[in-house]
Amino acid sequence: MIETIEFKLNHEPTRLAVDTERTLLWVLRTDLGLTGAKYGCGIGVCGACTVLLNGEALRSCQVPVLDAKGKEVLTIEGLARNGQLHPLQQAFVDHGALQCGYCTSGMILNAYSLLLRKPVPTEDEIITGMEDNLCRCGAHQRIVAAIQTAAKQMRG
């Protein structure tokens, strides 16, 4: 059903007339032109499509766009503010925590949500928290290190 819904998208109020059964992933990637969230598996297993809804990391390929109504959606495009990379983004760059980069948006947003919940995570908590995000290039060790670095920086 086509409905006009409002939500905050990357800090900006957004109004959109859309078939509300469509998944958030494809609405973001088509109507809204934000291609940072990627299709990887289509069943919510790989995490490449991860975005944040009110701070919670969700698999946007499994979420109807209606769920975003009245909420705050944060995609990778909204993480850097005022031309400054977020500490997580900077740490991923500095640690070389990516190779092909296809899973990276999902990795960073999932880590962001993890650090909101656990600002001082142990290494085991990072591993458990990131377990369901898949990377085929094998950047895992550097991703863990980048999250540790970013966590320290975010605590100041």
Binding site: K38, G40, I76, Q89, F92, G96, T128, C137, G138, R142
Partner: protein, 717 residues
């Protein structure tokens, strides 16, 4: 050219309709342009080794120095995570004496870049690197000549530094590269012979680890992959697929699908697809299509495939031979025979095969997730009966390849659908299509018989590989009587395999190294010797001894015979020009069957290292990815039907599988750069199997070493 279409950080102002190469060079405008001819030694060598024919290819630009001083590197290679976007820029920056941040990379565009065989086989740095350095050296010679005229100073008194040419006797006499290129149009074509390159001892950029230039684009979501490309009026397609390979469509009902607003069904011969302006709506319509296929009967499954392979194996061909096997056997006091098996393994890049095809005038432009833009161009020209010059392929950032993105099925599908619909079409495979059409690492078998004499020396080694290829099969250990045979190559065609098979990261290295290094371990155990000691006793190759000793020192390898119960294993290999030794520690839970690698130390001698941090990232990637085929990854199938079609059942390594990885680059600066993207992955099967043996006393001869297999062979309950 629009910025969003390419993986270039600063694309040149050339037309999207660049015509032939001559016209293309004109579109580059002024400046200094260096081309290499196809007879240039490394280019010819690569063309020969990639195509087997030394295919004659047109020249094209390798680099350009623009009047604004910026330098552009043109390469047909693509960036799929391996990091050549920075390492090639370093090689250019080094040889041309320009700051790294003044180099722009234009990659994987068949209109703009020199012909290239494809990005595979860890060849970019080894083969393209020298070409690029030669072009840069030529450019530097041209600049010095121009500066000599401009400054009125003899050329031999001039030196270059930071994009300037200066008089070494009077450094205030200087001129910038950009100023020299201004108002000029100089085109040089390098033929045979190699311009003089800098000595390695003078390097200041090669051998350092600047941050990857694609990293910021990738952490901000700005990096464009093929699926992120849109064109005006573009349609998304979902294609009707058979349930098993070889199935024939007998009935199709598209009535319900056609009722989805905006959807239409298109056919081009055997290609039937639903197209829609929105990808998810194309899928919605696609799910309403009803089909009936007849499938060819098959009783093949992932267990009986090995018997089939052996029963269909052609007569062996000899790969290597030394001494006299019969004499060796006569000297043996103990003979150990074993059969090693490895199932099919999927590439499973997180980005599925994707293509966007658009006709622009008489030109077909295709954006594709491909490791081989020029190969895709050839396939497209043949399939659509177009001259190659009317087909332009552009590879944006590729979301992982691992050897699986050489074939170009999706590229041709998108182009056929664009032609039949008259609109740009995007084909993005679903995960199930990605598994279905993947060109798996072939299932393969290795049989080895080897004998020890009374003094625990290997006296004979008889090795026979079936369908994994013989290229990396011969042993490098010092064995007086040995024979290596292969039956069927790793590129076996026809009906042998129930699926397509092809190159998989480290082609023919994974199965062969698993078999050889497992058998070496079995021999060491039989000899009652420490597995490292035993290998060293059979080695004369100094590079191999050096990497083993480097790994052992960092790992603190405690010498002793296996099985020790500690879960320690090692493995080593030669991969073309690169040497690798790895040591690891496994923890095996005999109740659950879980095997976890806790720690891996890997030492690699890959010659001169262009970007050490980048090289280490490749090694870590190899070791992590290799955990998959060692422990969990095997494509399961029954009655010819694939059972693994997504990541819910096909388990690639996750964070919890991650060991502590330490990598060591064993210095060898006098040797030109060798392979880096593949070698280390091939150590993993034997590393894990040998560690599992040390932990349990049970030898695992079939990969992957799953919990079920561990429980079955070594379980306690």
């Amino acid at each position: 050219m629009k910025e969003e279409t390419v993986n270039q950080l600063r694309p040149p102002a050339a037309s999207a309709n660049a015509l032939d190469r001559r016209q293309f060079l004109m579109t580059l405008g002024g400046g200094i342009i260096i081309c290499l001819s196809p007879s240039f030694p490394t280019l010819a060598a690569e063309a020969y080794s990639a195509t087997g024919s030394g295919a004659s290819k047109d020249f094209n630009a390798y680099l350009r120095i623009a009047p604004d001083g910026r330098v552009t590197c043109f390469t047909g290679k693509i960036e799929m995570g391996q990091g050549i976007i920075i390492s090639l820029a370093q090689m250019l920056s080094e040889e041309l004496d320009v700051p790294l941040n003044s180099v722009d990379m234009v990659m994987g565009d068949t209109d703009l870049c020199p012909w290239d065989a494809g990005t595979f086989g860890s060849r970019s740095t080894k083969y393209f690197g020298p070409e690029l350095q030669a072009a840069a050296a030529e450019a530097r010679a041209v600049l010095i000549q121009l500066a000599a005229e401009r400054l009125g100073v003899p050329a031999d008194r001039l030196v270059t530094k930071a994009a300037m040419v200066m008089d070494k006797q009077a450094p205030e006499k200087k001129v910038s590269y950009g100023d020299l290129a201004k108002g000029k149009r100089i085109e040089r074509h390098l033929d045979r012979g190699q311009p003089a390159l800098k000595p390695a001892s003078a390097y200041t950029v090669i051998g350092t680890s600047p941050l990857r230039t694609d990293a910021v684009a990738k952490v901000t979501g700005k990096a464009k992959f093929t699926g992120d490309i849109t064109r005006p009026e573009m349609l998304h397609a979902r294609i009707v697929r058979p349930p098993v390979h070889g199935a024939k469509l007998v009935e199709i009902d598209t009535a319900a699908a056609e009722k989805v607003p905006g959807a239409s069904i298109v056919r081009d011969g055997d290609l039937i697809a639903v197209v829609h302006p929105l990808p998810d709506q194309a899928e919605k319509a696609f799910n309403l299509i009803r089909t009936k296929f007849t499938s060819p009967p098959s009783d093949l499954n992932d267990s009986n495939i090995f018997d089939r392979l052996l029963s269909r194996a052609p007569e062996p061909s000899l790969v290597a031979e030394k001494g006299d096997l019969a004499r060796g056997k006569a000297q043996a006091s103990r003979i150990i025979e074993s059969t090693y098996r490895q199932g099919y393994v999927a590439h499973a890049p997180i980005e599925t095969h994707t293509a966007v095809a658009a006709f622009e005038g008489d030109k077909l432009v295709v954006w594709a997730s491909t490791q081989s833009p020029f190969g895709a161009q050839r396939s497209l020209a043949a399939a659509l009966k177009l001259p190659e010059r009317n087909v332009r392929v552009i590879a944006p950032f590729v979301g992982g390849g691992f050897g699986g993105k050489n074939p170009g099925r999706q590229v041709v599908e998108a182009a056929r659908l664009a032609r039949v619909t008259g609109k740009p079409v995007q084909v993005a495979w679903t995960r199930a299509e990605e598994f279905f059409y993947d060109t798996f690492q072939p299932a393969a078998v290795v049989k080895i018989a080897a004998g020890l004499d009374a003094s625990n020396r290997i006296v004979f080694w008889d090795y026979h590989v079936y369908f994994a290829g013989g290229d990396k099969a011969p042993t490098f250990y010092d064995v007086p009587h040995q024979r290596t045979q292969e039956s069927g190559g790793w590129m076996a065609t026809g009906s042998l395999h129930p699926f397509a098979t092809g190159a998989w990261r480290g082609p023919n290295g994974n199965t062969n190294t698993f078999a050889r290094e497992s058998h070496m371990d079995a021999l060491a155990a039989s000899a009652g010797m420490d597995p490292l000691e035993f290998r060293l006793a059979h080695l004369k190759d100094k590079r191999m001894i050096r990497v083993l000793e480097a790994a052992a020192a960092t790992f603190d390898w405690p010498r002793g015979k296996a099985p020790s119960g500690r879960g320690l294993g090692l493995s080593c290999l030669i991969y073309k020009g690169t040497y690798v030794a790895a040591m690891g520690e496994a923890e095996v839970d005999k109740t659950s069957g879980a095997c976890k690698m806790k720690r891996i130390v890997c030492a690699q001698d890959m010659g001169r290292v262009v970007n050490p941090e980048g090289a280490k990232m490749q090694m870590e990637g190899c070791l992590t990815m290799g955990l998959g085929y060692s422990l969990t990854e095997m494509v399961r199938f029954k009655d010819g039907e694939l059972l693994d079609l997504n990541f819910d059942t096909y388990q690639i390594p996750t964070f919890s599988a991650l060991p502590k990885i330490q990598t060591i680059l064993v210095e060898n600066p006098e040797m030109p750069p060798q392979e880096g993207g593949e070698p280390a992955i091939t150590c993993m099967g034997a590393l894990v199997a040998n560690a599992a043996f040390d932990a349990t006393g049970v030898r695992f001869t079939e990969l992957p070493i799953t919990p079920q297999r561990i429980k079955a062979k070594a379980g306690t309950s």
